[in-house]
Amino acid sequence: MADDKSNAAEYWKANVRTIIGCLAVWAFVSYGCAILFRPLLASIPVGGTDLGFWFAQQGSILTFIVLIFFYAWKMNKLDEKFGLGE
């Protein structure tokens, strides 16, 4: 339990902001680049096909990994900053 209510609320807000940012990237690479915007990226060639195809079968997965590790790192810093870690 947080000792200081406003401190805790601040922490939660920062967490939610981080999540929204990460999920925006998550949606952009998968639903965006790989599916909806694929026609727009058709002119960028990647090894025999286009960038959208690469995002659908490789790029989005790689981005997902980066996102989770970024989130874990960022939250550890927030835990420390607000003194709410274990």
Binding site: M1, A2, A8, Y11, W12, N15, V16, I19, C22, L23, W26, S30, Y31, A34, I35, L36, R38, P39, V46, G47, G48, T49, D50, G52, F53, W54, A56, Q57, Q58, S60, I61, L62, F64, I65, L67, I68, F69, Y71, A72, M75, N76, D79, G83, L84, G85, E86
Partner: protein
């Protein structure tokens, strides 16, 4: 040594390893049984989660789906990995902080309602059992092919093995067994892929090889593949999809389903700290991605290999695809792997035009029909079951016998590890949430363990029975499991954490609405309880509501769940103060401690 002996050696050695580990780590207390004493390192946990997650569907059938569907089936790749992002940010750390053992535990406590707990137990059991049936069938097929026993015997062997280590080992046994299984399955998956990538592109790394030059023809591999499949009347491998709405919703369904599947969530209860739950999800995805990044290479290369086996003239630099198409493989000259798989019935040849050659092409393409006719073709003559692709891959590429033995061990590991994880989720829902919490709170620890083991055995029997009498819906069942989990459990868990004011009535109404709508939509097209002939509409794209396939409906179900929950909440009382405090405390890692006893 014969191939049969090699397979036996590999499968036998891997079993000895799993069972040895299960005995070595035999669970002592109830807590050990469920959550391995809360002391599993994030990397270890990530690896075990990866083995838990990657089932027969990922290992055996996904590359085959990619091979046949090309770009359109990228949904499986993104859906089954992207779910971990949601899991890591929206669920895992908070559920770890909450510190109970099971998903219904959280839903029941958070929504201060045994009705909510019961609904969660039902969703969990339906989703998990349907998923296990698919695993049992998959394991049965792999056993029967490699040990050369009938399919029925294969399923019984699978059931006996799962029973042994899931029932006697508990979670801890499973955690370390699953680490071993992960290693076996990833090695088995990547070795053939590396060899094949080398053969086709000279690049040993499959995910790079896929985007580099095809050695024999001198053009990029994917461009070559497009040319070849085009010459046979199929659409481009990399062709875009028209129905983008369905593609988006299907991907989303698989993602929320991933985040809502109880056997995956339960994994995050087993790490020591909240921070570890976050890292754990990342490591899990790293280990999963090793297979998921390789799968598209396996799929595209296998499709090319298959086509050039049938039309050897198409392999190199082709001036005239028409001439190459005339030189289809003579049936009597077919390679050994076609002969072996023909015996299983999963490859079938029917010489429709009696010319002694194997013609494979897209005979449902009307524009191509004229070309086919002019060549004297009377229909595609070879049917290849998608699911054999990964298992047959080493044989297609002429790899040594030990690689084939390894693939056998890997395929079986994938099916068994997922089945065991699901069985644990089922047994804890019954023994812990249903019996201990709701029916008989005075049950002893020993009695609870016994109940867990009995319900596990019961679940295995049900799954084995249904696996023995497959109603013929393996792919749909997996999709149903995702649909149910995504439409019912995921929204309830998320609202439980992110909406402090969400109350019991809202959550229960939401879960029931999400579950009900999803089942209704699926049953409308696939038949009531999947009984063939009871569907009210034919399962074709023209009949789908807004072009949404039944497989994609989980995402819509989840939205319905959210909308109903918030509407009901707005007209009912807000939750009591202590529940709001509970939500507050779940949000901060401080004071998590070990997974608590009760």
């Amino acid at each position: 040594m014969s191939q049969f002996a090699i397979n036996l050696l590999f499968v036998g050695a891997s079993f000895a390893l799993y069972i040895g580990i299960a005995i070595w780590a035999r669970a002592g207390s109830t807590k050990d049984f469920y959550v391995a004493g809360g002391g599993v390192h994030p990397i270890t946990n990530g690896m075990a989660t990866a083995a838990d997650w990657m089932s027969a569907a990922s290992f055996i059938s996904m590359a085959g789906l990619l091979a046949s569907g090309g770009y359109a089936n990228s949904t499986f790749l993104m859906g089954w990995t992207g779910g971990y992002v949601i899991l890591a940010m929206l669920l895992a750390p908070y559920l770890r902080k909450f510190g109970k053992f099971t998903v219904p535990d959280f839903i029941g406590d958070r929504f201060y309602s045994n009705t909510a707990r019961l609904v969660a137990v039902i969703c969990l059991i339906v989703a998990s059992v349907t998923y296990v049936i698919g695993q049992m069938t998959g394991a049965g097929v792999a056993f029967s092919r490699f040990l050369e026993v009938p399919n029925t015997a294969g399923i019984w062997i699978a059931a006996a093995i799962v029973f042994l280590y899931a029932v006697f080992g508990g979670m801890k046994g499973i955690t370390y067994t699953q680490v071993a299984q992960y290693v076996v399955l990833i090695v088995a998956y990547t070795i053939p892929a590396v060899f094949i990538a080398l053969q086709l592109t000279g690049n040993p790394i499959p995910m790079f090889g896929m985007f580099s030059t095809h050695t024999e023809s001198g053009i990029p591999l994917l461009a070559k593949l497009n040319d070849v499949v085009n010459a046979l009347g199929f659409q481009d491998y990399t062709a875009d999809v028209d129905n983008k709405l369905n593609m988006v919703l299907f991907t989303l369904s698989l993602m929320v389903g991933t985040a809502g599947l109880p056997h995956v969530i339960i994994r995050f209860f087993t790490v020591p700290k909240v921070a570890d739950a976050r890292w754990s999800a990342g490591w899990a995805l790293v280990f999963i991605a090793l297979l998921y990044l390789t799968a598209p290479a396996v799929g595209s290369m296998a499709r090319l290999n298959l086509a050039t086996t049938v039309y050897p003239e198409m392999a190199g630099q082709v001036e005239d695809y028409d001439a190459a198409a005339e030189q289809a493989l003579i049936y009597e000259d077919r390679p050994n792997w076609i002969r072996t798989w023909e015996e299983t019935g999963l490859i079938n040849f029917d010489d429709k035009n009696n010319d002694g050659r194997i013609q494979v092409y897209n005979d449902s393409n009307e524009e191509y029909a004229e070309i086919a006719e002019s060549r004297g073709w009377e229909g595609s003559e070879l049917t290849v079951n998608n699911d054999i692709l990964v298992l047959a891959n080493p044989e297609i590429a002429n790899l040594p016998g030990w690689v084939i033995g390894l693939i056998a061990a890997g395929g079986i590991a994938a099916a068994l590890s997922t089945a065991a994880g699901l069985l644990l989720a089922i047994s804890s829902a019954i023994s812990h949430d249903l019996i201990k919490t709701m029916i008989n709170p005075k049950i002893t620890e020993k009695g609870e363990m016994l109940a867990a083991r009995i319900s596990m055995a019961g679940a295995i029997l049900v799954a084995t029975y249904l696996g023995l009498n497959p109603p013929g819906f393996a792919a749909q069942t997996v999709a149903l499991a995702f649909g149910i989990a995504g439409a019912s459990l995921f929204p309830a868990l998320m609202m439980g954490i992110f909406s402090k004011k969400m109350n019991n009535s809202g959550a229960v109404a939401g879960m029931l609405a999400g579950l009900g709508c999803t089942l209704l939509y699926i049953f409308t097209y696939l038949g009531w309880l999947f009984i063939p002939g009871t569907n009210m509409l034919a399962n074709t794209p023209e009949n789908w509501l807004f072009g949404i396939s039944p497989l994609s409906f989980g995402a819509v179900g989840a939205m319905i769940n959210f909308i109903v929950a918030f509407s009901v909440r707005s007209v009912t009382q807000e939750p009591p103060q202590e529940i709001q405090d509970l939500v507050e405390s779940v949000r901060y890692p401080k004071g998590a401690g070990m997974a608590v006893d009760h």
